[in-house]
């Protein structure tokens, strides 16, 4: 297996993992939608799907970042990007958790 072939294989593997989470998230979200609507007695707006699935957009962004940094083969880029990702994750968790609590 040459470099490009292996790299493509690697992209497929990591993308597949992220795609799997996205599919499962959509499935779980859709399968519990009616229950949630029944509980809150309000119909969810189509826009709330985009908002509620924030984690999915985050994962897609993460995938792009990981592919680019590995493609460049730069540990500095990877480390710097990771620190940024962590900061964003902390904000996401903090904001959403406070709401949930």
């Amino acid at each position: 297996m040459d470099y490009n072939e292996l790299f493509n294989f690697w992209i497929i593997s990591i993308s597949w993992s992220i795609a799997f989470i996205i599919l499962i998230s959509i499935y779980l979200y859709a399968s519990t939608k009616s229950k949630r609507e029944e509980k809150s007695q309000t119909k969810q707006k189509p826009l709330s799907l985009v908002k509620d699935q924030g984690i999915i957009w985050f994962l897609v962004g993460l995938l792009v970042f990981y592919i680019i940094s590995i493609k460049f083969g730069s540990d500095i880029l990877f480390a710097t990007g990771n620190v940024l990702v962590e900061a964003m994750l902390i904000i996401y968790v903090w904001k959403n958790r406070k709401k949930a609590d």
Binding site: F7, F9, W10, I14, I21, I55, I70, A79
Partner: protein, 854 residues
């Protein structure tokens, strides 16, 4: 042999053995118990090898020994020993805990020694002891009956005969009798279903003829929701493991550069990695530690597996006596139709009684209350002219008992029992010694009974009739009775019952009252302790209902009054069919079937033997607050067990899945079989303190159930998170640290091997760090460390194992496992990557719990 001959042959008499003689015989015959019930390390050690995971590990060792190096085989064997020792130590400690706790609820027997009755532990009985037995007793040793009053014994455990058989003290003239023919014997392990009497102990412990059989034939409990959950979880994992092992081996076997033996070992190791082989040990430790904590709250666990169902019960069925009320029944007064109370009511009630008059008065609480009242005012002296000649015992169909007494030449049948039942059999009532047909007085008697019940008093009626001398009497003789009056009992509500009920409601446990008393008393008690009564059903109504109707009614009904023990069983079955986790609290003779059937059978230390024997949990105090502590503890244990399950199925599954995928596109195995097995052992060891972990308060506020659907969703959602970071590590190792270039370099085999080892070491560390550290995130729904801190033992052990895993590549052991030291940059990236992974899982948790409830 006659009773006298048996006494003679066993060198005893009606006064029983002396204490010294009993001690001497105890030294000769030993304790009255069985080896099978004794606690020993042998069976526990043997059980470790029955675990199917060891079969896979042994298969790995054999394959490694035959086709690779002996070092590999020895390493796997060492791991097997390590796992066996870990499992053994933990299970031994757990079983010892239970064994020690069970000693606290030992069964006792009334024995006559030196002419005095006293209560001793059944295991101290010796041949020649004279013992008294009563309805509800589990027969403690083989004995020859020397005195009996309508004794019936249930010998189902010995003979398979479902119905109780009559037992008498009469001598038999039989050659080589079968056990069924020995109607003057009671065998160890059988249950006194009716009556009472005395017997001489003939043989004890392992010398008893049928004792060992009876112990091995102990009725098995139905599978609890927790056991069902564990089973379905096991099936889910088994399917996954088989699919993955077969898939990995098939693909690897056909790939070039992959040796068949390595592929086989690798696929088996992935299978081992997937199976949470420590599950039984973790569950046992969780349960035994919980049992120890519960014992401090006066809750003794007899059957470990019931703890989690005890915590998760959402319906508690209980009688009101002793739980809602003080359980100290006292006779307040007695009543007859005339203003002057009939002076016969009290002595007749004393005669028609099953109370045992020894150093202290014991037996049925209402009979004890009558005796205590009478001894307080000297009324018991008025029974002196009477002698009891026959007894028709109490049963739940009639709800009354009768005795035939003689006073000079007069014979009187005295009946005492539930007013409805007694009145039904009365033809007359008596006022000031004048007897007249009861019809005229019936209405006023019923009204009085109803008024008393509505005030919360428990009431018994007393009636009598003169009878002729007969050899035997039967329930048919309980007719044309003359009503004498009522006995009025009080049993005040507990002061803390209201708070206890509130707390149970807060905890999501609905209390249903199953009582033999009438509905008016039950309703009054419920009012006093603030149990909202939605509906009341009496036993007679229940009899008319189909199973489907009962299933419907049990949901709405709070009080089931005047019910029989069989109906208790029907109610519990119906609730279980409606998917409730049902607790049943009972202490009566006929509560045993319901205690067996309930998911959590709860009895009390003062209960009859058969109830204690059937119960999963024994309360040292019959108190709802004791129960509440136990429920909270049960929920914590369930919470910790679930943590292990969720962690194992998510992180473990993700790792093994990545290994399977990587093995396809890599020119070498992503991790060697021994590395996978070693990581698995380290991971298991780091989890050993999960049972000591703290459980968030909100987790214990409502009952939870095993929900395999939830576990599946959790696995599918969180498993790939771990895979993302596994693939990311592969990317880093291959494309940043040059493992791809190095491993494919032509000509230099040692360089290729070094880079393969570097890749494997890198992934070993990332995999181990993420697998172990994710526990801090998964263990709580809150923000880890900030709003939910882990237990100190769990945190300490995880940190220690992470440290050990980190230094491993630099040690000779690491070298032996095929690991090499990693460059400094790798460590920086590893820290950043693992931190991102943990934060991402936490973010995933926010999303997941918002849409998936558990």
């Amino acid at each position: 042999m006659s009773p006298e001959e048996v006494c003679y042959s066993l060198e005893t008499n009606e006064k029983g053995l002396s204490e010294q003689e009993a001690q001497r015989r105890l030294r000769i015959y030993g304790y009255n118990e069985f080896e099978s019930r004794r606690f020993g390390w042998g069976p526990i050690l043997f059980r470790q090898f029955k675990n199917p995971i060891f079969v896979i590990l042994i298969a790995c060792a054999v394959v490694a020994g035959l086709f690779t190096t002996i070092d590999q085989a020895l390493t796997i064997i060492m791991m097997i020993f390590l796992a066996v020792i870990m499992g053994f130590i933990n299970e031994y400690r757990a079983e010892k805990t239970v064994h020690d706790l069970q000693k606290r609820v030992s069964i006792k027997t009334v024995v006559i020694r030196g002419g005095k009755p006293s209560e001793i532990e059944s295991k101290l009985l010796v041949p020649g002891d004279i013992i008294s037995f009563y309805v509800g007793d589990v027969v403690p040793a083989d004995m020859r009956i020397i005195e009996s009053t309508d004794v019936h014994a249930n010998e189902a455990a010995l003979t398979g005969e479902a119905f109780p058989v009559e037992k008498t003290s009469e001598s038999l003239d039989l050659q080589r009798p079968t056990p069924q023919q020995l109607t003057n014997y009671l065998f160890m392990g059988s249950v006194v279903a009716n009556g009472r009497g005395q017997g001489i102990v003939v043989s004890t412990g392992k010398n008893s003829e049928f004792g060992s059989i009876s112990r091995s034939l102990v009725r098995s409990h139905p599978e609890t929701p927790f056991q069902k959950g564990i089973r379905s979880y096991g099936n889910m994992l088994l399917t996954l493991t088989i699919a993955l092992v077969v898939g990995i081996f098939s693909i690897n076997a056909v790939l070039p550069n992959h040796k068949l033996v390595d592929s086989l070992l690798f696929s088996l190791a992935v299978g081992v990695g997937l199976v949470p082989e420590l599950m039984p040990a973790i569950v046992t430790i969780c349960l035994s530690q919980g049992a120890r904590t519960m014992a401090e709250s006066k809750v003794i666990v007899k059957r470990l597996v019931s703890i989690e169902d005890f915590g998760n019960m959402d319906v508690l069925c209980t009688d009101k006596t002793g739980t809602l009320t003080e359980g100290k029944i006292s006779l307040k007064d007695y009543y007859s139709l005339a203003e002057d109370r009939d002076p016969r009511i009290l002595p007749y009630s004393l005669l028609c009684s099953t109370a045992i008059i020894g150093e202290k008065i014991t037996g049925n609480p209402m009979d004890v209350a009558i005796w205590e009242y009478a001894t307080g005012n000297g009324a018991q002296r008025s029974t002196a002219p009477y002698s009891k000649i026959f007894e028709i015992p109490f049963d739940y169909e009639r709800r009354m008992m009768s005795v035939i007494v003689r006073k000079e030449s007069d014979l009187v049948l005295i009946t005492k029992g539930a007013p409805e039942s007694v009145l039904f059999r009365c033809a007359y009532s008596e006022t000031l010694g004048k007897s007249e047909p009861i019809e005229a007085a019936k209405e006023s008697i019923r009204k009085k009974f109803s008024d008393l019940s509505m005030q919360g008093y428990r009431v018994l009626a007393v009636a009598y009739r003169n009878v002729d001398l007969k050899k035997t009497y039967a329930i048919e003789d309980e007719s044309n009775l003359t009503f004498l009056g009522f006995l009025i009992f009080t049993d005040p509500c507990k002061e803390d019952a209201h708070q206890a009920i509130m707390k149970l409601t807060e905890m999501g446990v609905e209390v249903k009252i199953l009582t033999g008393d009438n509905e008016l008393v039950a309703r009054k008690i419920c009012e006093e302790v603030d149990i909202p009564v939605r509906k009341v059903i009496v036993g007679a109504e229940l009899t008319q209902m189909s199973a489907a109707q009962i299933r419907q009614e049990v949901e709405e009904t709070t009080i089931f009054a005047r019910i029989t023990p069989e109906q208790k069983l029907d109610i519990i079955k119906a609730l279980k069919d409606n998917d409730h986790t049902v607790g049943f609290m009972g202490d009566g003779v006929n509560d045993a079937p319901a205690l067996y059937e309930a998911d959590a059978g709860i009895s009390v230390d003062t209960a009859v033997d058969v109830s204690k024997d059937a119960a999963d949990i024994v309360l040292l105090e019959k108190d709802l607050s004791v129960l509440i502590n136990g429920i909270g503890e049960g929920r914590k244990i369930f919470g910790n067990t679930i943590k292990y399950v969720l962690m194992g199925t998510s992180s473990n599954f993700g790792n093994m899945f990545s290994a399977a995928a990587a093995s396809i596109f890599l020119p070498f195995l992503p991790m060697t079989a021994i590395q996978i097995l070693f990581m698995n052992i380290l991971y298991d060891m780091s989890n050993m303190t999960i049972p000591t972990d703290k459980v968030d308060e909100e987790y214990t506020t409502k009952p939870r159930k095993w929900d395999i659907g939830f576990v599946r969703k959790y696995t599918l959602f969180f498993g790939p998170f771990s895979s993302i970071y596994d693939f990311l590590t592969f990317g880093i190792m291959l494309f940043i640290f040059g493992c791809w270039a190095g491993s494919t370099a032509t000509g230099a085999t040692s360089l290729q091997l070094h880079y393969a080892a570097l890749f494997q070491s890198g992934w070993f560390l990332e995999s181990f760090w993420t697998e172990v550290l994710v526990m801090f995130v998964i263990r709580t729904r809150r923000i880890p460390f900030m709003t939910s801190r882990p237990g100190k033992w769990l945190a300490g052990l995880i940190v220690a194992f992470v440290a050990f895993g980190t230094v491993l590549p630099f040690t000779p052991l690491g070298g032996f496992l095929g690991m090499v030291p990693l460059p400094t940059n790798f460590w920086i990236l590893l820290v950043l990557m693992v931190a991102t992974y943990l934060l991402l899982v936490d973010a995933g948790k926010v999303f997941f719990y918002k849409i998936c409830k558990f």
